[in-house]
Symmetry: C2
């Protein structure tokens, strides 16, 4: 039964080689603000999902499924799922 | 001297109490896709910043400054800075 609460953190980032214009814009803006030594900036998304599941493993599987179907575009993005009891 | 490379992960999330329509939309979409037991979803942003700094502490301070000035809207958002050597 789905009776335990889990807090799951999902991080979705662009794959290497995929252009990130937003990250480039931030790099430029940081330079304009006087920050030196900035190599590169990549922007991604993070989702905090609270859900009920039978076990930590079940929560991990359900959220991975969510990523495949909705949260990430797996053609250009990677995702990482981190389940906290 | 700014000679060491650091990889810094910045996570920016909405403060509690701030409405998150995007998160609400994702909750609804997950329900439509048949995912049960989803309590709440909050969306945030993540930035991967590569920079050169004199020390881990210096990198932390520089990136916190970036958050205050550009990366986060501190009126409605919290930020967390995680420096990896």
């Amino acid at each position: 039964m789905a009776d335990k609460k889990f807090h799951v953190k999902v991080t979705v980032t662009l794959k290497n080689g995929v252009l990130d214009p937003q990250g480039k814009a931030i790099e430029g803006a940081l330079g304009s603000l006087g920050f030196d030594g900035v190599g590169s900036v990549r922007q991604g998304k993070v989702f905090d999902v609270n859900l009920n599941a039978a076990s930590k493993k079940a929560a991990q599987e359900v959220v991975s499924d969510m990523c495949e179907k909705l949260l990430a575009n797996t053609v250009i993005e990677n995702y990482a799922v981190e389940v906290n009891g």
